[in-house]
Each structure stands twice: as structure tokens, then as C-alpha cells.
């Protein structure tokens, strides 16, 4: 029973919050340009509209093209089960650790990259190729960062990592966490295709990465591709806020009210992070494609210094 509630809460919260993040991001950017911008909940309408529309499918494509949106969305949701939005509910867990999470997301990415090649379009190949490069450069940083956290918590399971952080004071006062946190921010930006790595709102095919891969999609397929990307983005943000900015330890009672309170805090944290990321996007310019390796190297170095500090200082708090 506990498990059923956990899964339901997890899925409902993730599905509800994911489009909001994109909406807030766009609103903040619009305001910074002295535009009014669409309301933050615009993406819900967009998704609904796309679901209603007929799909145009390239006559070159095969079943891979049509299956990919469902697989991308389903893997994102399955991954979301492993990253609790509130540790108050994490008493019962789905068996899985962050390695399963990463390779689940790789399954989705594999199909997305293959589907981009399926239509025979130039832009699909371009996006797919660039995605391959960026993802392989960023993968070591994710693993080393999460490995460090796993070593400190003595477990790879994400709920347990979150619990152990909560019991140990403020994580961002510890140099290990600061380094890993900074690495994870870069990972978040790269994985969710944000400026300076990729520009989600570009209209020029030549500069696209993620958008180029889903260029041929329309109708409900596009809806699921975009929703899947939003859920994946929220997974990384959840990792960030629930590990590095834990708030659940402040609620020292349990029950329904505690869960509600912790969820409200979670949503507030997510909104703050969404605004911060929008600010980063406003303040930076998109990097040249071949400058991205430098950014990835920076992320890796930060994660590596983090783990070295862990070996020297230990996981305890000064």
C-alpha cells in the first residue's frame, strides 16, 4: 500500500510540476527582455493542443520513429520513480540506484537519437551527432558526482543519499558538497539542453541540438517528446534540490500534513532553481559547439576535486 501511494504521489507531482518549470523559465526570460511573455502554465495548454492534433509522420520513417516518443516518455517516468520528490514518503522504495537511473535515461536517449536518424533528414543526424558528443562528455561527471555522494552516504540508493544528507546539517557548508554541487549544476544545464550548451528556443536549425532531433515530430508524438524532456529536466532538478538543499529535516512530525508541507517546500525549491537557471540563461551566451568540451571538463574537474576532498577530509562535517 505504501508503495502504491509513493508511486502515485511521485508520478502526479512530477507530471504536474514538469511543464511548470519550462513555463517559469520562459516567463522570466520574457520579463528580462521587457516582454510580457506567456503565462507560466502555457505548456499545459500546448501539450493539450498537441495531443488533439493529427500527427504528420515522414514517409521515410519506420516503427522506431513512432515508438520513440512513448519510450522516451516512459523511461523518463520510470526514472522519476527512483528520485523521491519528498523523503517523507520514501520509507518504501522501488529497488534501484542511481546507476539504474542513468542507464534508464540512456535507453530513452538511445531511441531519441535513433529516431532522429530515422527520417533521413539532415538536421536529425546533426542533432543526434551533437547529442552523442555532449552526453558522452558529461556522463563521467554525473557518475563521479553521484559516486561521491554514494560513498558519503554508504549507499547508491537516492532516497538513502537524501536521508543521510538530511541528518548531517547543511551540506553546502562542506567543501565536498560544494564541488559536487557545482558539477551537478553544469550537468543539469548540459543534460537539459539549456544555454550555454544548447538553446531551447532557437529557430535556426543549424544551431539546434535537442530541437533538431525532434524536428520532424508533430501532434501527440511531439507532445510526448517534449513532456519527456520536461520530466527528465525535473529529475535532475529534483536531484539537485533534494540532495543539496534538503528541507525535510525541518518537519519533525509525520503524517499527511508532513508530506503536504514537504511537497510544498519541494515545489518552492524547484521554482527557485527554475528562476536561477533562467537567470544563468539570460546572463550567458551559447557556447561554440567545440567549447562545450571545456565546460564538460570543468564539470569533471569539479566532481573530481569533490571526490578527492572526500578522500582527504572524509564525509563528516567540519
Amino acid at each position: 500500500m505504501n508503495n502504491v501511494i509513493y508511486i502515485l504521489v511521485q508520478i502526479v507531482v512530477i507530471l504536474a510540476v514538469a511543464p511548470l518549470v519550462n513555463g517559469i523559465n520562459r516567463k522570466v526570460k520574457a520579463l528580462s527582455q521587457k516582454r510580457k511573455g506567456a503565462p507560466p502554465w502555457q505548456m499545459y495548454f500546448d501539450l493539450y493542443k498537441l495531443l488533439k492534433k493529427n500527427a504528420v509522420v515522414s514517409d521515410v520513417s519506420s516503427w522506431i520513429f513512432k515508438a520513440a516518443p512513448y519510450i522516451v516518455f516512459a523511461t523518463a517516468l520510470a526514472g522519476a520513480l527512483l528520485v523521491p520528490v519528498s523523503s517523507k514518503l520514501a520509507g518504501s522504495q522501488i529497488p534501484g540506484d542511481f546507476i539504474l537511473l542513468i542507464y534508464t535515461l540512456v535507453l530513452g536517449r538511445f531511441f531519441m537519437m535513433a529516431a532522429a536518424l530515422d527520417t533521413g533528414s539532415t538536421f536529425g543526424g546533426m542533432g543526434s551527432s551533437r547529442e552523442a558528443m555532449i552526453s558522452s562528455l558529461i556522463e563521467p561527471s554525473i557518475l563521479v558526482s553521484l559516486f561521491t555522494l554514494g560513498l558519503i552516504a554508504r549507499s547508491f540508493s537516492l532516497p538513502e543519499i537524501m536521508m543521510s544528507v538530511q541528518n548531517n546539517g547543511i551540506p553546502l557548508s562542506n567543501p565536498v558538497y560544494i564541488m559536487v554541487f557545482l558539477a551537478m549544476v553544469i550537468v543539469l544545464i548540459a543534460e537539459t539542453c539549456r544555454i550555454p550548451v544548447d538553446d531551447p528556443s532557437t529557430h535556426l536549425e543549424l544551431t539546434m541540438i535537442h530541437e533538431a532531433m525532434i524536428l520532424e515530430y508533430s501532434g501527440r508524438h511531439l507532445a510526448f517528446m517534449e513532456y519527456g524532456a520536461a520530466v527528465k529536466q525535473l529529475i535532475f532538478m529534483t536531484l539537485l534540490v533534494n540532495i543539496f538543499l534538503p528541507t525535510d529535516q525541518l518537519i519533525n512530525f509525520s503524517g499527511l500534513l508532513a508530506v503536504l508541507l514537504s511537497l510544498i517546500l519541494y515545489v518552492i525549491k524547484i521554482i527557485i532553481v527554475a528562476i536561477v537557471i533562467a537567470m544563468i540563461e539570460i546572463k550567458t551566451v551559447k557556447l561554440k559547439l567545440f567549447s562545450i568540451p571545456n565546460l564538460a571538463a570543468l564539470a569533471f574537474i569539479l566532481a573530481f576535486i569533490g571526490v578527492l576532498q572526500y578522500f582527504i577530509l572524509g564525509g563528516g562535517y567540519a
Binding site: V60, S135, F311
Partner: protein
């Protein structure tokens, strides 16, 4: 090959090893009318004999101490310094056979030269006999006492894995690509083996067993999916008469079954859930973690680099196999042959079907294979860890557990299927009936889309090639024809890369050997019968003196 694995006597092992190597030479040159096959065969036989020589020296050193050819433990008899020498001998000997970098150069040329079913056998099983040799002789005969043995193997594993996949990625001949990917997988196996040896040297039985399990499981899994991939490459070649990815495309419509199976193998080799490759990769991560929890700082830095390398390798392998699958099966056909391709006969598909089903089943029910591997580990004298790998065979909610971490591929797949069904339902309820319109791909408003407008496999790999240019030293040549460089009539673009190992390691050695041969040819082997008589006289005198005085 079976003889190699069943012999318990060094001489018998050596003979069957040699028979295996020689027979596979004939298999490599099976299509001997081709120049390429002959070159590959020559390279193969040179490398394999070099390897055998090292193994033979290793055996002879052991014999000189134990006075027996039985493959028992000799750890107590042989002094420490000699052990180190024997270890190096075995490492070079078996390492060459396994294709670890920098001893891998025969592998990418021998595998493509052989017929596909032979390549499947060679890549799936023969290079694994070398892994068998390492496990059989190093802990079995010598005993692992020095950490640096494991560290060497681990470091070689990291290098092989990263470089193997990097070379695979820029390769466009399907079979060469698969051969480089074998180098990568041997690297992953060696990472597991290295951890196991280090842990053994530090008397950490549990971690050692866990890492050995990971290595052996990956050995087994690799045999399954790499064998399948070579069969797939064979089917593609059978249908299209080409191995060049750049000339394929769109085969999924012509050969739907082959495409499905190759997709399964590609997912498995990229260590993607829920296929078997993921389980062994996961276990490797777990053994790294289990070691690091208690390890010292110095080794931990190496181990964290192994973690990073595994991450990089995983992502690059996924990119590599997206390329293999995407460019041969998806999109528009890039050549006439690909356009005319037909599905291969049922017998070829059945073989691949069985292998891909096994890849999926062993991914979902890993404990079936793990229980077999555990009995092997116990027979090697390590402690069993099957008890800690908790789980049931068919019951869903008994996850695989290692080092305190649990995963359950079955539960994962269960959720994945439920989510897909729910998504389909939701789409139906919210969006109404699914209607689609078939229409051409967006071609920027030019004329109809043609195959040449597609991205090429070279283009796909280019960003990574540029990022890792230090490994490839790529060169390119652009020839333009026409009056002005701004309005060329035709552009010819050639790109190539050099293998840094061939250039900076093998070429110097070869030139030294050649120079030496030249010197001996002109200075010693003059062709005059008088000097030869003198040599014989000096040799006889030297021997007599040696016998008299020593």
C-alpha cells in the same frame, strides 16, 4: 578451443593453445584470394606467435622451479622476483590474444577478414580464452600477492576500454567497428579482473569475488551479444554485399527481423537496461564501490578514474551503436545494393533471434547466470558471494543485491510497460483517435529529399573525433576544382586518421628490427663460404671451452 579450456597440464594446454591459434589462422585466410585476408592473416600469425612465445617462457620458468607441468599452485615454491617476471610474461602473452591496447593491432584486421560466423566465434569465444588463461594461471598458479599486478591490469583495462570504443566510433566498416568494440569490452572485463586481483592481494575476499563475478559475467554476456552482432553484420553483408556503413541505410524496411535483433544486441552492448550488458556493468560499478568504501586514498583515485572511464565508455558505446544501427537500418538507402536488399533466410534469423532472446532473458533474470558463475568462483577457491546477491529466479520483487545496493530489472520493465500502456490510454482519452498523415521529410524547401542529403556516419562521428583528436591525429584533404575557391565546381574531401600505436610504438620497433636485419645481412651473412666455416669453427671452440671450464 574446448581443449584449451579443459586441459590441466601445461604442455597439453600449450599444444591445444597453439592448435587453436593455428587453426584460426586458416580461418582468417579462408578467403585467401583477397589481399586483405592475407595481410590480416600474416599480422595475426606474427602477433599470436609472439604471444605464445611469452606464454611458453612463462611456463618454462614455472617448470624450472616446480619440475612439473601440472597446472597446480606453485605460489609457495617460486621466489617473489621470479613471480613478477612470470606475471609480466603471462600478461603480455594472454594480453595479446585478448587484444588489450597496445597489443590489439591484429584484432581489427583479423576479425573483418574472416567470414562472419568465424568472426563471431573468434570475438565471442577465442579472445575469452585469454581471459581464462589470466584467471587460471595468475591467481591459480602464482597467487596474487602484489597489488601492482591488479593495478597494471586495471590501468590496461581502462586504456583498452576508452581507446577501443573511441576507435570503434570512427570506424565505418561494420566488422572493424565490432572488432574495436571487442577491445573495449575486453577492457571492461579487465577492469573487473584488475579490481579482483587488487582485492585479492589485500585479502579482501568478498570484493575480489564480486569483481571476478562481474568480469566473468561480462565475458559471458559479451560472447552472447558480440556473437549476435557479428551474425547481424554477416546478414547485412549477405543481403547487400558491403560492410561499409556509408553505403547502407533504410534496411529496416527490407529486413525488419534482422533490424530488430541488431537493435537488441546494440542495446545490450551499450549496457542499457533491461538487457544483460547492464547487469555486468552494474556489478562492475558495485565492486568498485565495495572496494572504495574501505580502500586507501591512493588506490581510490585510480578507482574513481575507472568509474569515470566506465561512464565515458558507456556513453561512447551508446553513440557508437546508435551509429551502427541508425546508419545501416534507418533513413534512406545510400546505395543501389542497400536498395535491393532482401531479408535473409530464416535460418540466419533464428540464430540471431535465439541470441537476442537470451540477452533479454539474462538481463531480466540475472541470477540464472550468476548462480553458474558462482560455482566457478567457488571452484577457483574464492569465497561464494551468491548468498549476498539476494534474489529469486522468477519472483518479481526479489531484487539483485550487491554491496548493499539493489536493482530489479524485472520491476523496472514492469513499470516501463505499465507506463507505455498508460501513456497510450491517456493519449487516446485526451487526444481522441490517433490520426496520422504520411508526408515527406522536411527538405528545407528544396527539391525532393535524396540520400545524399542525409547525415553521413563520418559526419556523425566527427564532433567526437574532433574532441578526441589527440587520439586519432586526423588529417583531411580538400581538393577543389573550378575557377574560384568561392565557386567550386566539385569538391573532393578525404579524411583519414592514423593509429597512434602503429605509428609511435610499432613502426619504431619494426624499423629497429629491420635495421638490425640489414646489418646482420651485410656484416655477418656475407655469402662467402670461408667466413661461414670460420663461424662454425668459432662456435665449436666456444662450446668445447664452455664444457671444459664451466
Amino acid at each position: 578451443m574446448i581443449l584449451v579450456l579443459t586441459s590441466d597440464n601445461a604442455i597439453f594446454f600449450y599444444i591445444s593453445w597453439e592448435v587453436m591459434s593455428l587453426l584460426s589462422y586458416f580461418l582468417v585466410v579462408f578467403e585467401s584470394e583477397k589481399n586483405e585476408s592475407q595481410r590480416a592473416g600474416k599480422l595475426y600469425i606474427i602477433m599470436t606467435h609472439l604471444a605464445t612465445a611469452f606464454i611458453l617462457v612463462g611456463f618454462m620458468i614455472i617448470y624450472s622451479y616446480t619440475k612439473s607441468f601440472a597446472l597446480g599452485s606453485a605460489a609457495a615454491i617460486i621466489p617473489d622476483s621470479i613471480k613478477n617476471i612470470v606475471f609480466v610474461m603471462f600478461l603480455i602473452g594472454f594480453g595479446t590474444k585478448a587484444g588489450i591496447i597496445p597489443l590489439h593491432i591484429w584484432l581489427p584486421s583479423a576479425h573483418p577478414a574472416a567470414p562472419s560466423n568465424i568472426s563471431a566465434l573468434m570475438s565471442g569465444i577465442m579472445i575469452k580464452t585469454a581471459i581464462y588463461g589470466l584467471i587460471r594461471f595468475i591467481p591459480g598458479c602464482l597467487g596474487v600477492e602484489h597489488s601492482w599486478w591488479g593495478i597494471t591490469i586495471l590501468a590496461l583495462g581502462i586504456v583498452s576500454a576508452v581507446l577501443g570504443v573511441a576507435y570503434a566510433l570512427i570506424e565505418h566498416n561494420i566488422k572493424r567497428l565490432l572488432a574495436f568494440s571487442s577491445v573495449e569490452n575486453i577492457g571492461i572485463i579487465l577492469i573487473g579482473l584488475g579490481i579482483s586481483f587488487i582485492a585479492l592481494a589485500q585479502n579482501n575476499q568478498l570484493v575480489s569475488s564480486l569483481a571476478l563475478t562481474a568480469a566473468l559475467l561480462h565475458t559471458f554476456n559479451h560472447a552472447l551479444f558480440k556473437g549476435g552482432l557479428f551474425l547481424g553484420a554477416g546478414s547485412i553483408q549477405y543481403a547487400t554485399h558491403t560492410r561499409d556503413i556509408e553505403k547502407l541505410g533504410g534496411l529496416i524496411r527490407k529486413m525488419p527481423l534482422t533490424a530488430l535483433f541488431v537493435l537488441c544486441f546494440s542495446l545490450a552492448i551499450s549496457a542499457i537496461v533491461p538487457f544483460n550488458g547492464f547487469i555486468s556493468e552494474w556489478l562492475t560499478f558495485q565492486s568498485l564501490y565495495a572496494f572504495m568504501i574501505n580502500g586507501g586514498a591512493g588506490l581510490n583515485i585510480l578507482f574513481i578514474l575507472a568509474v569515470a572511464a566506465l561512464g565515458l565508455v558507456g556513453a561512447l558505446a551508446a553513440a557508437c551503436f546508435v551509429k551502427l544501427f541508425g546508419f545501416s537500418f534507418l533513413g534512406l538507402s545510400r546505395s543501389e545494393q542497400a536498395l535491393r536488399a532482401k531479408e535473409v533466410p530464416l535460418s540466419m534469423n533464428v540464430a540471431m533471434g535465439i541470441l537476442s532472446l537470451l540477452c533479454l532473458l539474462f538481463g531480466l533474470f540475472p541470477l540464472v547466470t550468476l548462480s553458474l558463475i558462482d560455482s566457478v568462483i567457488v571452484s577457483l577457491g574464492s569465497s561464494s558471494i551468491f548468498g549476498t546477491l539476494r534474489g529469486g529466479f522468477l519472483i518479481a520483487y526479489y531484487p539483485l543485491e550487491a554491496a548493499g545496493n539493489r536493482i530489479s530489472p524485472l520491476v523496472f520493465v514492469f513499470f516501463l510497460i505499465i507506463f507505455i500502456v498508460l501513456i497510450l490510454l491517456a493519449a487516446r482519452v485526451v487526444g481522441g483517435k490517433y490520426l496520422e498523415r504520411r508526408y515527406g521529410t522536411w527538405d528545407c524547401g528544396f527539391e525532393a529529399l535524396n540520400p545524399r542529403m542525409q547525415y553521413s556516419a563520418t559526419g556523425f562521428a566527427k564532433p567526437i573525433k574532433i574532441v578526441f583528436r589527440i587520439l586519432f591525429k586526423p588529417t583531411r584533404q580538400v581538393v577543389m576544382e573550378g575557377d574560384s575557391i568561392y565557386h567550386p565546381k566539385a569538391i573532393q574531401y578525404t579524411t583519414s586518421y592514423t593509429s597512434i600505436f602503429v605509428k609511435y610504438l610499432y613502426h619504431p620497433i619494426i624499423s629497429v628490427v629491420k635495421d638490425f636485419a640489414k646489418i646482420t645481412k651485410f656484416k655477418i651473412q656475407t655469402g662467402s663460404i670461408h667466413s661461414y666455416l670460420l663461424y662454425i669453427f668459432i662456435a665449436v671452440m666456444a662450446m668445447m671451452l664452455y664444457n671444459r671450464f664451466l
